[in-house]
Symmetry: C2
Amino acid sequence: MVERKIITAREEESLDIEVGKDLIKMNDRLAAQNLEILNKHGVIAVDVMGSVGAGKTALIESMVDRLKGRKRVAMIAGDVTTTIDADRVARHGVPSIQINTGKECHLDANMIRKAITELDLKALDLIFIENVGNLICPADYALGCQRRLVVVSVTEGEWMIVKHPLIFKSANVVAINKLDLATAMGLNVDKLAEDARTINPRILVARTSVKNGQGIDELLAHLGL
Amino acid sequence: MVERKIITAREEESLDIEVGKDLIKMNDRLAAQNLEILNKHGVIAVDVMGSVGAGKTALIESMVDRLKGRKRVAMIAGDVTTTIDADRVARHGVPSIQINTGKECHLDANMIRKAITELDLKALDLIFIENVGNLICPADYALGCQRRLVVVSVTEGEWMIVKHPLIFKSANVVAINKLDLATAMGLNVDKLAEDARTINPRILVARTSVKNGQGIDELLAHLGL
């Protein structure tokens, strides 16, 4: 009996991937147009990616509070089905748009086009876009943001970065979040930071905890905000 | 300026979803054939789904240890890129097959067909299939397993179940894992169990901790193992 075996799904076998390539090209064109629209209005958009429960919404709330009076902020939240995240951020007094993707595991440039059309861009400096919660699908779909942030939590185990190279390659900044739990989780945070830099030598690493406020200013600095 | 808005991605707009429907039909046919092959050999397969870091691999290791001498077990592990999970389970002395999906965020019935062709089904009673780590994509793709288990961790926040109704609708059992951390996380586990049963009244709930062994026997009983 076979004891160890590796099977790799080949691209040429997958109809899914063939069609996917065309969709991604179309998406890239729309994303470039979104970027142009945002730049024309001097609005910075941040694509906030990460697994369910990594703390994306809590980090956005925390950044929104610190930027109060300095930046005019809006939020766009993507989720398969609920409005929980947009509701949370709206409570901080910023305009918020919820995009329900149905079955899609990522936001795309077309959804963002619709959302920014609803916003008064002249009255804004910054948009946080919370992507759908997982570390795989959002990697391929540019939204037209000037910055891409990946949020990982120390509760996700030691492999969450090495298992998802694509999303870290496409990001400018990674926040290693829930830092207050790192000791309880027995996790080596330096090793996680090193994993991210091995995949993407230009990535900036912030170590954050929404609970005690650690690293939020560093994160904002890394994002140029 | 608009303060709150909800945008829903409509199915008819999405090429992705149109093609997706055909793929899912094709996948369903293959899954039905897989089920037939497994049943013919008297092999039970368990599709183990859940986010990255929920503890899928650790739970499988724990179940494999308890079933030693009672069941002849193999493992199939899906991951976008690494062999970390299959390597871990292989150390427990069970045959293991790694499927690297490339960019795909889920296993599919065709990948499983290849994997079960590599295994000597006559020499097996049980196959644990660890799906790719996220709560969205695997929901739609039947693999031909007799059981579907979703693993969630108490570190994933209080919304991870209500945000992902589809995967809980398709599952027989949910394991609420890392129970030893529930108090530290300030999480109401009864509420999570209730959320799962609201979405799927027939779902069986196990409360598990690999660290202290709690609930593993209950989980095996729920899976009929």
